[in-house]
Amino acid sequence: MHELDLTREIDRQLSVCNACRYCEGYCAVFPAAELLTSFNDGAVTYLANLCHDCRNCYDACMFAPPHEFAVNIPKVLAEARVRTYERYGWPNVLARLLRSGWIAPVAIGVLVFGAITALGGPANLVTRHVGPGAFYAVVPYLALLVPALAVSLWGLFVILAGAREFARDVALPRGPSLNWAAFAKATAGALSLQYLKGGGAGCYYPRRRGSSARRRLHGCVFWGFLAAFVSTTLAAIEQNVLHIRPPYEIVSAPVLFGIAGGALMVVGCTGLLVLKPQSDPVPTSDSMKAMDYAFLVILELVAITGMLTLVLRGTSLMGLVFSTHLAALAGLYVTAPYGKFVHFVYRYLALIKNAAEKSAD
């Protein structure tokens, strides 16, 4: 749908919601919408990212299709979220090139894998490397560090720039209402995925029955990702501060965090990938679904290859698996600022705005 048309359609549908208000117990979106009488682009962007996609409002709506009012809030808000991810990924050319879908991450992965192979020669990938510095026998330390840092810093820059623009467009409050209490409330809401609880009904996902499966699985992915991030950070400290070179013992902080993170991510991603095809396609958008699938598969690939690297690090297969892990990581990190990965940034900002407005109320 064209951008302006999408905003107008959401304005039309939310005007039905504002005249009804039956869904106000489900989440923060409807009480927030009630404060407005019409919905411009910024309001639509804010509410779309405040929506956690539990879909209960769709099932509870007597005006959902085939009713002529054709209200389908989860679908149009999903479309507006896809628009958000595209719009705030700078530069726009890259955003269009790298957004949802498979081509970009696969191409990047293949490129990286090819580069590693070319760098050390194919035989190096199937040679057994053990002892301190074994991983750097596959890819030299600097060849690993420089691109990884560059991509991470670039991603951070793009995400922060997008967040800044988003905050301006949705009119994130400034001043006294944007206080620690609002941040604390938004953080608690984000970490507990409060609005996937459907006001106590659970989330109607994948079937039309309240369930907490999606919230729990999403939690696995989030905490798993965080644990993996902690693992990487600890490893960097061990190497650069304590001067102990990897690989590390199984019973060491980086490896334990890595195992926990990888396992949680595999469980979470697998679960979400199992639920998604069972879910009703009507209250969502095809573009969002494509983004979700691409993100989940890449994330799961990163987790699985990471775990396999640990399991196989004593064998001659380590090089191959480790290179695949790096290739998958490259696919994830390069596309991250332009794909589903960024959803947490905008959702968190929307939660902060919501908390700040409530505290000002």
């Binding site: 039905v16 009804c20 039956y22 117990g25 085939p66 029955r209």
Partner: protein, 460 residues
């Protein structure tokens, strides 16, 4: 298939009956004439249920005793109620919340805003369609067979007892043999030709707020079979709705909330009733009937820029203009007449403290009809109006029942195995007027009784 109980209908009363019959161990078939996506009748548009309770909890504040409940009922009906059935309904309403929760209904915690009824009424999380979804889900898990797109047409009798329900599936007539039947098919408000018997062509201008499937076919069949009519056939409950609403199923979002904030004129731009008579939640219910009595069954709720945003809008934007003359033209009213009416009204307003939540002291003086409260002058452009029609919520006509929900013959004796619940018998208890959330109370109480009685009889 061996059926114990057939439930005719697919809304709240039907579902309560099906679930209650199931709880008695009966094999139950429920006939919903709507497709699955539109299931649930007018219950889809409900939001809360009235119930007596002795203490507050997180879903209902304060105490609402049986005596107060009865007083409220007597007040709104002016005594048009069967005292025994009313007392039974109110008594049984005490246990409804637990029963409903046990059958899958979720409640909404008290929120600020929207409706101020949380002492007497309990709100469903997500509203009536969520309630309907929960009941259908529980019914499916309990083994109730639900037939969608299946229209009940008539009943067949043997030895004075219901033997079959005659249904229509895709234009083909079929008989469902059963041991008992519960009729919960709602009223007849969606049957315009039937309404025309009492209202003539005015019925063409009525908006039906709920399901288009309530056409009273089973009700008519029951009368043919000597069931006793109860309730005023001409009577219906109607609110003012936006005239741009679809003819059917526009629900809550077309309801006009603007009336106390301005004036209401008819097609000749004349006022016809006190727009500030009483607190709005109590009075919005009379405006459908008032507009039904006006020429062409149309009216216009006129207000100005200073009160916009103080009430819940309909889903359509109001007609807007920078002057009263332009507003009249846009609405199809005579400009001179509207200006004269507004001028006369403005001159009659007196200074006061505007307080939309209370019976304030902003009243007119010296005009007929007066506006007793919230009478601010209409003088701040832009000017707005909503065109309004009568929006029918439900009809009062039904069949007589006894305290076991058995349908009564014209001589007052009950049918042996035929029961009724919901809108098609609510006229026994709510013979007139309106009490928010009480239709659901009657439907739930009598659905539960009908299902239990039918289930027990069938299993005996």
């Amino acid at each position: 298939m061996d059926i114990d109980v057939v439930v005719l209908g697919g809304g709240n009363a039907a579902l309560c009956a099906a679930l209650a019959a199931c709880d008695e161990g009966a094999r139950v078939v429920l006939l919903e004439r709507a497709p699955r996506a539109m299931r649930g009748g007018n219950t889809r548009h409900t939001r809360d249920i009235r119930h007596a309770h002795g203490e507050s909890d997180e879903f209902a504040t304060g105490v609402y005793g049986e005596d107060e409940f009865m007083d409220d009922l007597l007040r709104v009906t002016g005594g048009a109620t069967d005292r025994n059935l009313a007392a039974l309904t109110i008594r049984e309403s005490r246990t409804l919340p637990q029963w409903m929760a046990r059958h899958g209904v979720l409640w909404q915690k008290a929120l600020r805003g929207t409706l101020h009824l949380s002492r007497t009424n309990r709100f469903f999380l997500g509203g009536g369609k969520a309630l309907v979804n929960a009941y259908y889900d529980t019914a499916a898990r309990s083994g109730v067979e639900v037939l969608y797109d299946t229209t009940a047409r008539d009943l067949a009798f043997q030895d004075g007892q219901v033997s079959d329900v005659i249904v229509d599936v895709g234009g083909v007539s079929q008989k469902l043999r059963c041991r008992a039947a519960v009729v919960a098919t709602g009223g007849f408000e969606a049957n315009i030709p039937w309404l025309k018997r009492y209202w003539g062509d005015a019925a063409d201008h009525f908006v039906i707020r709920g399901t288009p499937y309530n056409n009273g076919v089973v009700l008519a069949a029951l009368y043919e079979r000597d069931a006793k009519p109860v309730g005023d056939p001409r009577g219906f409950h109607a609110v003012a709705v936006d005239a741009r609403a679809p003819q059917f199923d526009g629900g809550i979002v077309t309801r006009l909330d603007a009336i106390p904030f301005g004036i209401v004129v008819n097609r000749f731009a004349k006022r016809f009733y006190d727009e500030g008579e009483d607190l709005w939640p109590k009075r919005y219910a009379i405006w459908g009937g008032l507009i039904a009595e006006q020429p062409d069954q149309i009216a216009y709720a006129v207000f100005d820029g200073k009160v916009k945003g103080k009430f819940i809008p309909t889903l359509y934007p109001p007609i807007a203009a920078d002057s009263l003359a332009a507003l009249a033209e846009a609405a199809g009213l005579e400009a001179g007449a509207l200006i004269a009416t507004v001028t006369e009204y403005n001159l009659a307003t007196r200074p006061g403290t505007f307080a939309p939540g209370d019976l304030d002291d902003c009243a007119t003086s010296g005009i007929t009809p007066p506006k007793s409260h919230w009478a601010l002058p209409i003088d701040t452009p832009p000017f707005y109006c909503y065109p309004a029609r009568p929006g029918i919520t439900f009809t009062y006509l039904g069949v007589g029942v006894d305290e076991r929900a058995r349908v009564l013959h014209n001589d007052g004796t009950p049918f042996a195995n035929l029961y009724a619940a919901g809108e098609c018998m609510a006229g026994n208890i709510l013979g007139r007027g309106y009490l928010a959330g009480f239709g659901l109370t009657i439907g739930s109480v009598f659905g539960r009784i009908a299902g239990k009685e039918a289930g027990r009889r069938a299993r005996a």
